[in-house]
Amino acid sequence: MSDDVRNGDYAARRQEWEAGVERELARRPERRSRFESPSGIPRLRLYGPEHGPATEDAYLERLGFPGEYPFTRGVQPTMYRGQLWTMRQYAGYASAEETNSRFRYLLSQGQTGLSVAFDLPTQIGYDPDHPMARGEVGKVGVSVCSRLDMENLFDQIPLDEVSTSMTINAPAAVLLAMYLVAAEQQGVGWDRLRGTVQNDILKEYAARGTYIFPPRPSIRLVTDILEFCSLSVPRWNAISISGYHMREAGATAVQEVAFTLANAIAYVEAAVARGLAVDQVAPRLSFFFNAHNDFFEEIAKFRAARRMWAKIMRERFGARDPRSLQLRFHAQTAGSTLTAQQLDNNVVRVTVQALAAVLGGAQSLHTNAHDEPLALPTEESARLALRTQQIIAYESGVADVVDPLAGSYYVEWLTDAVESRAWRYIERIEQVGGAVRAVEEGCVQREIRRSAYETQRAIEQGEHVVVGVNRFVTEESGQVPLLRVDPDVGRRRAEAVARLRSERSQTAWAEAVAALREAAQGDANLMPAIVRAVRAYATVGEICDVLREVFGEYRPGVF
C-alpha cells in the first residue's frame, strides 16, 4: 500500500467519523461546550496520527532515545528497569533527636533517600531564642542551629550510604557546611557525599518567602555553593531549581516550567559571569517539580521541561558534557490539592499525582501524607504515603518499560503545546531583563497571584470540581489522630543554644566570625569561611547576622 492511498484512506475515514460525531452531538451534547487543561490548553475530542511526530526524522529531533538528546524520553537509557526512583519523604519536626528517630523509622520501612525539613527559624537564619522564632521552633521542620544538631540529626545514619536532600535556601551555605562537618565527624570524605541543597533563592522571592538577603548578594551565595561543590563535593547537587512552590502558590503547569527554567538560566549566567565553565557546574544542577492533578498535562510538563533544558544548555550556553544537558528532577505531589474535607480522598489524589511523576520520568519522589491539610504527618500517615510509591513501583508494572506513554498522539501533542507556551513566558521574562529583574519587579509574583485567584474563582463557581469540597459533600464527624509537636520544644531548644554558647571555645569562635565578616566584605568564595565558623560552633543565627550586617535584608515591595 502506498503512502498516498493510506493517507487518503485515513483522511476520508476521519471525515466520516467526524460527521458521525456531529449527528451524535445533535442528539446528545457533550458534558461541556469547551474542554481545556488547567493551563488553558484546549483539549480536542480526539488525537490521531496528525498530532504525533510525522516522520522518523521528526521523532529523532523531538524525542530521541532515552538517555539521548533532547532527553524527552528520559535521562537514562534504561530508566526504572535499571534502578527505581529514589523514594524520598520530606520529614522533620521538633529537635534533631526526634527527627533522627523518624528518619530511621522511614529507612527501616524501605525509604531510599532522606529529605530534611527545617523549621522556619532555621530557614530564615534565626536561632531558637530569637524573638521572631516565637512559636515557630520545630513546627514545620526540625530545628538545627549548630553542627551539634546536625551531628545528632544523622546519628547512626552512615552519610556515605544515604543520599540527603536539604530544603534550605537563604542559609543553604551554612547548613551545607554543617552537613560537611558532620560527615567529617563520621570519618566520611566529602567526595563520597551524595545529596542536594535546594539553594534556589529566586523562587523564595516569587513564592515561598524564606528569603533573608536582597537578590544580588543572595545570587552570590548561590554561585559560591555551585563553585565550591564542583571543586570539593563532586557528587553533590549544589542546587535544586524548584518550580514546586511557585506551583503551590498558584502557577499553572506552563508557568511552573517557564519560571523554573528562567531561574535556572539566571543561575547559569551568574556562574558563567563568575568565570566558571558551563560544564563545570551544569552537571550538578538538579530540579524540583510539582506533580499535580491533571494527569496528562503533568506528564507532558515533565517531558517538555527535559527537552527545553537540553536545548537551552546546548544552544544557549554551548554545553558539551551530556550530563550538563540532562534535566534530573525530584517531584512531590501537590499539597495544595489536598483537602481537609474527607481526608481519605487525599490518598487517591496522591496516587494519581505520583503515577504522573513516575510516567514523567522523575529521579526521586515525595508523596504527601493525607492528613497534611490539618497538621504534619503522623508516623502512620507518613508510612501510607511511602507505601503508595512502593505499590506503584512494585505492583503496577509501570516501571518496567521506559517512557511507556511516548507515541501517544495526545501526550506528544500536549508535550509540544506545553513547550511552546512555556517558551513564550521565557521570552517575556527575557524582555523584562531576566529572572532576577522579573522577581525584583514583581512580574512573576503577579502572574502567580492571578492564576491562583482564577483557580479559586473556578472552584467557587463550580466550574472546577473538588470532590468533597464543592461536590459530593458529606457531613463529617469524629476525630482524626494528628501529630502534636511538643509545645515545650521552643524552650528546650533555646536552652540548648544558650548552653552551646557558654561551652564552646570563645577565641576560636570570635576569630572564625571575624574572618567570615572580612570574607563577606570581599568577593572571595564564602564557603571556606562558613565551614570554619561552623567548625567553631557558630550558630546559623550568628552566621546569618554577620551576613545581614554586610548584605542588608530584603524588604519586599507591595506588588
Binding site: 522556619l120 534565626y126 522564632a133 512559636g135 518567602g209 503551590e248 498558584g250 483537602t339 479559586q456
Partner: protein, 287 residues
C-alpha cells in the same frame, strides 16, 4: 454613601505561605471591601498598630506553619489592651479542629480551614463586623479635656516633596525651614513657614509606610492637624479618658525635636490628629 468595610489581612510569624491570604484579600476586594495586606513576617504589635492606624473593622490572620496558637491569641490580647477589641478578629490556615475551638475561646471570632470559599468569609465579616457609621452611644462625660494652646502645624501628604516645596513657595510665598528624614515613620518631611502658620509636607520613603498607604488610598491631601500642648503625656491621658482612640500608647519623638502622639481620626471628624509638645526654649508661634 455606605462606607466600605475595611479589612486587614495579615501574616503573623515567619510563615511564607501567602496564597490563601492573597486570594482572600483579592476576593474581599471584589466583594466591595477595602483590604490592606500586611505582607509577610509581621509581629502582633505591628498588626495591631496597622489595624488601628488604618481604622479597620476586621483583621484576618493567616498561618500555615503551626504557630497559630502563639500568634493569634496575642493579637486578640493586644487589641483588648489597646481598646480596639471592637475589631472583628478572624483566622485561617492549617489549623487542627481542637486548636480552632481553643482559638474561639481566646477571642478569635471564627477560624476558616482549607476549602473555605471567599463568599463564606465575606458573609461572616458582613454579619459580624461592628456597625458602620457613627456609634449610637453617648461618649462618657469627660472630667477634663485636652488644653490646646494653638495649632502647631497642618500636615499635607505629597508624593514629591521637592515639587510641593516649589509650588508652596511660588504660589503662597512659603519659606522652607528645613527637610528631614524620620526613618522609623518611613517619611521625609519639610516644614514651611507662611504667615504665622507652619505647614508640614510629608513624603513617604518606604512603600509600606502609613503615609504611602494613605496616598495609595486617598491621593495627596490633608494628612493631619497637629495641636500644640504643654504636656503631651498628660494630654494623651486626658484624651484617652475623654473617649478618644489613641494610636500611640506613649508619646514618641517627632520631627524638630518635639514629643508627639497621634489620636485616631474616628471621633475627630475623620481627621488624624497629632498632639505636639514644643521643645523647651521654643517660643510660641515662632516655629
Amino acid at each position: 454613601m455606605v462606607q466600605p468595610i475595611r479589612v486587614l489581612v495579615a501574616k503573623p510569624g515567619l510563615d511564607g505561605h501567602d496564597r490563601g491570604a492573597l486570594v482572600i484579600a483579592q476576593g474581599l476586594r471584589d466583594q466591595g471591601m477595602e483590604v490592606i495586606y500586611s505582607g509577610l513576617r509581621q509581629t502582633p504589635e505591628q498588626i495591631v498598630q496597622t489595624a488601628i492606624e488604618e481604622d479597620v473593622a476586621c483583621i484576618g490572620l493567616s498561618s500555615l506553619s503551626g504557630a497559630h496558637m502563639e500568634w493569634f491569641p496575642e493579637v486578640a490580647r493586644l487589641l483588648r489592651e489597646r481598646g480596639a477589641d471592637d475589631v472583628l478578629l478572624i483566622g485561617g490556615g492549617v489549623i487542627p479542629p481542637d486548636d480552632a475551638e481553643r482559638l474561639k475561646q481566646l477571642g478569635i471570632a471564627e477560624v476558616f480551614g482549607p476549602g473555605t470559599s471567599i463568599q463564606q468569609v465575606a458573609d461572616f465579616i458582613r454579619q459580624h463586623v461592628r456597625a458602620a457609621g457613627p456609634a449610637c452611644q453617648l461618649a462618657p462625660v469627660a472630667t477634663a479635656s485636652v488644653r490646646v494652646s494653638g495649632v502647631d502645624h497642618v500636615a499635607v501628604a505629597v508624593r514629591d516633596i521637592a515639587a510641593a516645596i516649589e509650588q508652596y513657595g511660588r504660589v503662597l510665598g512659603a519659606r522652607c525651614l528645613g527637610v528631614e528624614e524620620v526613618p522609623d515613620q518611613g517619611v521625609r518631611v519639610a516644614f514651611l513657614s507662611l504667615g504665622g502658620t507652619v505647614v508640614e509636607l510629608v513624603e513617604p520613603t518606604a512603600p509600606d509606610s502609613p503615609v504611602a498607604r494613605f496616598l495609595d488610598r486617598r491621593g495627596p491631601g490633608l494628612h493631619h492637624i497637629a495641636y500644640a500642648v504643654d504636656d503631651v503625656d498628660q494630654a494623651l491621658a486626658v484624651a484617652r479618658a475623654a473617649g478618644a482612640r489613641v494610636i500611640d500608647e506613649r508619646p514618641r519623638p517627632g520631627a524638630r525635636g518635639k514629643r508627639i502622639a497621634f489620636l485616631h481620626p474616628g471621633g475627630l471628624g475623620g481627621v488624624l490628629t497629632e498632639l505636639c509638645q514644643r521643645s523647651a526654649g521654643e517660643g510660641a508661634g515662632e516655629s
